[in-house]
């Protein structure tokens, strides 16, 4: 494995290797300076003490860094897996349930698309907590949002269309069906 990448094991390796390198460079510098002075006959007890102190100080610091690195991790707070779209209005009948279905897959123009299984819908109703649904929006829903599990999806502005249909099971006075252009930023 010689090609450094951003994968997790290699990231850990690179970070720890970095600490090694610092240790090596410091030690190499101290050793080189000591050798030079020894060759010139200038290396005395004070120099020896200075070398040792430098090495011990530096290596203690590096040792702490290694231990802390292993224990604490890099502290990356990973971005959430779930993304929400802007809200889209639901209607026109406030007394009807509506069902939202994806009719044109959400894509970026590159031929890839968000798998439908990754998409759910959040019902936004005034005065109530938002409710996650599989697509059936309860009576009185003002808006809905797309909810996408973005795991391993590339960043992009994903376009698509959904169809919002009044549910025949309710007493909707308007048998309406609307096609809505939707998008979500991942």
């Amino acid at each position: 494995m010689t090609n450094p990448t951003s994968s997790k094991p290699v990231l850990l390796a690179e970070y720890m290797a970095g600490i090694w390198v610092r240790m090596l460079r410091r030690n190499a510098a101290v050793a080189a300076e000591a050798s030079r002075k020894m060759a010139a006959g200038d290396y005395g007890y004070d120099d020896y003490l200075r070398s040792v102190t430098t090495l011990v100080d530096g290596n203690l610091l590096d040792g702490m860094e290694l231990a802390e690195t292993l224990l604490a991790g890099p502290g990356f707070k990973l971005a959430p897996d779930v993304a929400l779209s802007d809200p889209y209005p639901v209607g026109p009948d406030p007394n009807s349930e509506y069902e939202v279905t994806v009719t044109t897959a959400l894509s970026r123009g590159f031929g890839d698309a968000v798998p439908v299984a990754r998409i759910s819908f959040e019902a936004v109703k005034s005065g109530e907590a938002n409710r996650r649904t599989s697509g059936v929006l309860p009576v009185g829903t003002d808006h809905f949002r797309l909810v996408v599990n973005r795991t391993n999806l590339q960043s992009g502005y994903y376009f698509g269309q959904v169809t919002v249909t009044a549910r025949p099971a309710t007493n909707a006075s308007v048998a309406d069906q609307q096609v809505v252009d939707v998008a979500i930023k991942l």
Binding site: K8, V21, L66, G73, G75, F76, F110, Q154
Partner: protein
């Protein structure tokens, strides 16, 4: 010397302090100013970027970054005042410098920036911080709005505000007040502090240049930074949201095509048109912080679409990068640029997202590279500034490409797949890389092999490590397996290296490793 490297040297000073000082108080204070940069695995980003540049430089010996004094010299016009006409240091770079100088002034004054063991800082003349801060009110050619107060008075007022500035979250209100009083120019105040992690919001700035309507109105913006896992690759996820109330979407659309980015910002050295594929436009993006030293080339595909009055560009790595001239350092690069009309069509909101991973750089280093230097600029002021000076942005042989919805027709005569060679070898033939380069490459490789080979649970351990969820017991078990080799391997490597590095004035001496001396990884 390159402006980008000077800015990195200024921000890198914080990282060098963090690396050389385990003092939790010092690290906590610096974390306040640069959130997400001081934790284990986060810190050390400056040496990573230096190493990255060395590794890809045509002449590694010329890839040393400037000392802090030299960096401030360049960014402040060598004490002679800011040269607005030069266009070398624009409002964005000045905003970055102003923030770093204010943070450093604060830390130095409170004794929280110990400079021992950091050659670049030990000799640093801190008067340069005042110089940088006082220049934040000097007019720029793009705004033309000179602050009315002399520099020393502006500095005194800014220093008076320092007591309320203890971290990034305080910067917005400080800049709003400073802009109101004319201590900093509006275009500098409007740019938020850099965001490696979390959200950084700029103040709402009222622009009042009567010379042109487009320069009036309101400006506001914010940036966010996060780390995201994409198929096991850790990426920086950077977003921006900026708006200007008096620059219309049509003006921004006229310059937003990626082929125009090199007309707008020097970080984009060149944007070379490639043959479209499947209706998708393609471009070979050349970026660099010092184009004479190294260039990263990345083949991108992009798609332009309008929807409900908005204009959108999606981009990602090209499906086939081979043969395009792509140099391969960028592993992930995807995102969007969305233009929304605001203010009854008179203004525009620009939203951008970028998910990016670069070989050899941690997500922290990538985020800083992108934020301090170029990519994030796209969403900040680049689009507005470029739209305002569209006629000036036209360059001989490189006209602005207008907006046109995808798909792009493949006109054969337009095809221009690059025949260029990749960077890295340099015109001067092979050179001996610096000691640090040999060490880092060798140590990274050995460490990676080592981690893979010492435990079957390496992937699980690494995954937990990244999330910071390793337990003490897991660490004890893990280090029990690898402990002896962890302790002994550096010495084996040192022995190897000392035997391999040719003897000479630079071998094994601190000077060979550049200005960081004892150096931090």
């Amino acid at each position: 010397m390159a402006v980008g490297h000077s800015l990195l040297a200024v921000y890198g000073a914080f990282d060098q302090v963090v690396m050389e000082n385990p003092d939790e108080q010092v690290r906590a204070r610096i974390e306040q100013f640069l959130p997400g940069t001081t934790g284990p695995g986060q810190r050390g980003w400056y040496a990573q970027i230096q190493e990255f540049v060395r590794r890809h430089a045509t002449d590694p010996a010329a890839a040393e970054f400037p000392t802090l004094d030299d960096a401030f010299d360049e960014l402040t016009g060598r004490g002679g005042g800011f040269d607005a006409a030069s266009q070398v240091v624009g409002p964005r770079e000045r905003a970055r410098l102003t923030y770093a100088a204010a943070a450093m002034r604060n830390l130095v004054d409170s004794g929280m920036m110990p400079r021992e063991r950091i050659p670049s800082l030990e000799t640093f003349n801190t008067d340069r911080l005042n110089e940088a801060l006082s220049q934040a009110g000097d007019s720029t050619s793009s705004s033309g709005s000179a602050a009315p107060m002399p520099g020393d008075q502006r500095l005194n007022r800014l220093m008076g505000m320092m007591s309320t500035f203890s971290g990034r979250d305080d910067w917005t209100s400080m800049m709003a007040e400073a802009a109101d009083e004319g201590l900093v120019t509006p275009d500098i105040a409007a740019i938020p502090a850099i965001s490696v992690l979390g959200e950084s919001t700029g103040p709402v700035i009222t622009l009042g240049n009567a010379a042109a309507d487009a320069l009036q109105g309101e400006s506001r913006g914010k940036c966010t930074g996060e780390v995201i896992d994409s198929d096991g690759v850790l990426c920086a996820l950077l977003t921006t949201e900026f708006e200007r109330s008096t620059i219309s979407i049509d003006k921004v659309k006229s310059i937003v095509d990626p082929l125009n980015w090199d007309n707008c910002n020097k970080f984009f050295v060149h944007m070379q048109k490639l043959k479209p594929a499947g209706g998708r436009s393609q471009v070979l993006e050349y970026v660099s912080t010092d184009k004479d030293l190294y260039v990263i080339k990345t083949a991108l595909k992009y798609w332009k679409q309008e929807q409900g009055g908005s204009a959108v560009i999606n981009y990602d790595l090209s499906d086939n990068r081979k043969g395009t001239g792509d140099t391969g350092q960028v592993r992930v690069d995807s995102g969007y640029i969305v233009l929304n009309p605001i203010n009854d069509g008179q203004g525009t909101r620009v939203l951008t997202s970028k998910m990016v991973a670069i070989d050899g750089l941690s997500p922290t280093a990538v985020a800083i590279y992108a934020s301090v230097l170029g990519w994030v600029a796209i969403g900040e002021m680049m689009m507005f500034d470029c739209a305002l000076r569209a006629s000036a942005a036209k360059q001989p042989g490189d006209p602005l490409v207008p907006w046109q919805n995808s798909p792009e027709v493949d006109a054969e005569n337009h095809a221009s797949i690059s025949q260029s060679t990749t960077t890295g070898s340099g015109a001067g033939g092979p050179r001996v890389p610096p000691v640090a380069g040999i060490l880092m490459a060798e140590a990274s490789s050995r460490m990676a092999d080592f981690i893979e080979s010492t435990t079957k649970d390496a992937a699980v351990i690494a995954d937990k490590w990244v999330k910071g969820t390793l337990s003490v017991k897991e660490v004890a078990d893990y280090t029990g397996k690898v402990g002896a080799r962890l302790a002994s391997e550096p010495w084996r490597l040192l022995d190897d290296m000392l035997n391999r590095i040719p003897t000479g004035p630079s071998a094994g001496s601190p000077s060979a490793d550049g200005p960081e001396g004892g150096g931090s990884p």
